[in-house]
């Protein structure tokens, strides 16, 4: 069951087109998995459109006739959708994981899986200017070294469950963590756990041999 949702404020910003692109992407993906938030977004959209479109301009405004004449010369554009043509899942070890719609454009930008430590796998996703993202798969008993964040880490559970010493997360749960949090994600679920995670700054490892990674964490978790 999904327990971690974006706040109403975050959803409102998302619907208005005003939240950070990375958070917007994660909220969009969450809403694909969460009918509750999807419905909330639709309500907010209705409310916002009333506010945005009811504002009748007071000034005379420009002459729109040339614009309208240009537009009606345009041909009608072909219909729906090539979304289904996008690859909808990623694979690890013969297992297919179906992704929420919003993440599908990134399948093609996802690199190969590499084993990090023990039971932990990572596939980097090229997000351009947006930040550093990874699919991270924890096999049962898999752990991410304890770390904190210099920036923000946004994580969406795509499949399975994991815990991190603060809470237990299920499929569809969305969390936003910053430098105040130190956590040690691990999965005890039989099927393991696949998450999609975006960090805007490198992680800061706080324990063990992983500390050695800190000078290079910008190379490592990207």
């Amino acid at each position: 069951m999904i327990n971690f949702h974006p706040s109403t404020q975050q959803l409102d910003d998302f619907v208005a087109g005003n939240c950070e692109p990375t958070l917007a992407l994660m909220i969009s993906a969450h809403a694909d998995m969460c009918s509750h938030c999807m419905a909330k977004c639709q309500q907010l959209q209705n409310i916002q459109s009333v506010g945005a479109m009811s504002d009748v301009p007071t000034d005379h405004g420009p002459d729109f006739s040339a614009m309208m004449a240009r537009i009606v010369q345009m041909p009608s554009a072909p219909g729906l959708t090539t979304l289904s043509a996008k690859q909808a899942s990623i694979e690890l070890d013969g297992k297919q994981f179906v992704l929420p719609r919003a993440l599908r454009p990134y399948v093609k930008k996802t690199g190969d899986w590499s084993r990090l430590v023990g039971k932990l796998w990572q596939a980097p996703v090229d997000m351009g200017d947006l930040g550093r993202a990874n699919f991270i798969y924890m096999e049962k008993g898999g752990k991410v070294p304890e770390h904190t964040h210099m920036g923000t880490e946004i994580t969406l559970v795509i499949d399975g469950q994991y815990s991190d010493g603060m809470a237990h997360y299920d499929c569809g749960d969305l969390t936003v963590l910053d430098g105040q949090h130190k956590h040690l994600p691990h999965s005890e679920a039989d099927e393991g756990c696949l998450v999609f995670s975006i960090v805007d700054k490198p992680l800061f490892f706080t324990a063990g041999i992983a500390r050695l990674l800190n000078p290079f964490s910008n190379l490592f978790f990207k």
Binding site: Q9, Q43, Q48, S49, F64, M74, G128
Partner: protein
């Protein structure tokens, strides 16, 4: 902006945003079915000034505002067949198109790479699939590799790195403990990191 309104109180909100929602729905259907310029003129004259107000408020720039009006209304003209009155009112549909165009305009203006587009975030019109280019993968480093690189450092550099990065000591503490000048700790650290970086680049 209607920020922070508890959604619970709006659960029974019925979208009846403008008196002419039904009328506009009919016009959109006419555009879709028969490319009616007359119907489009009605929709256009109602929404274009409103869109300009919205855009001016959001972006504060007349040229951008007009670009937004033009792109939004062009979508309405070209894609009116995608409007579904079951899903919402015409003004909600047109608002979401404008919101998407604004998002893309602002990102373009900030010269961001085309790494995310509004239609992926809010599939209002869902069509284009700008074909994403395969991007070369960056080198991946595993903890095992880091371990191996670490052991390839000279002993003295290993000791310093271990104390600082594994035991979390300050450079001054390391200097005191090893009984060497602070400058030596600093230069060993620098050389070690440089060496590790070279190994990572190899």
């Amino acid at each position: 902006m209607l920020v922070g309104i508890p959604l619970e109180s709006t659960t029974n909100y019925t979208a009846k945003p403008i008196d002419c929602a039904d009328e506009m729905s009919v016009h959109l259907t006419d555009i879709a079915n028969s490319r009616s310029q007359k119907a489009f003129a009605e929709v256009f004259s109602y929404f274009a000034p409103r869109l300009r107000s919205y855009a001016l408020k959001q972006m504060g720039n007349e040229a951008l505002a007009m670009e937004l009006v033009q792109d939004t209304m062009a979508n309405v003209w070209q894609k009116s067949h995608l409007f579904d009155a079951e899903k919402g009112s015409p003004s909600t549909w047109i608002f979401t198109i404008a919101r998407n165009i604004r998002f893309d305009l602002l990102r373009k203006q900030r010269n961001r790479k085309e790494d995310i587009c509004a239609d992926d975030l809010w599939p209002v019109l869902c069509e284009q699939t700008a074909d994403v280019n395969e991007v070369a993968l960056d080198h991946q480093v595993t903890l095992d590799e880091i371990n191996i690189m670490f052991t390839r450092l000279p002993d003295k550099q290993q000791q310093v790195i271990e104390a600082i990065y594994l035991e979390g000591k300050s450079q001054q503490e390391v200097a005191d403990e090893m009984n060497i000048p602070l400058g030596t700790v600093k230069s060993r650290t620098r050389l070690a990191l440089q060496r590790l970086k070279e190994m990572l680049d190899e």
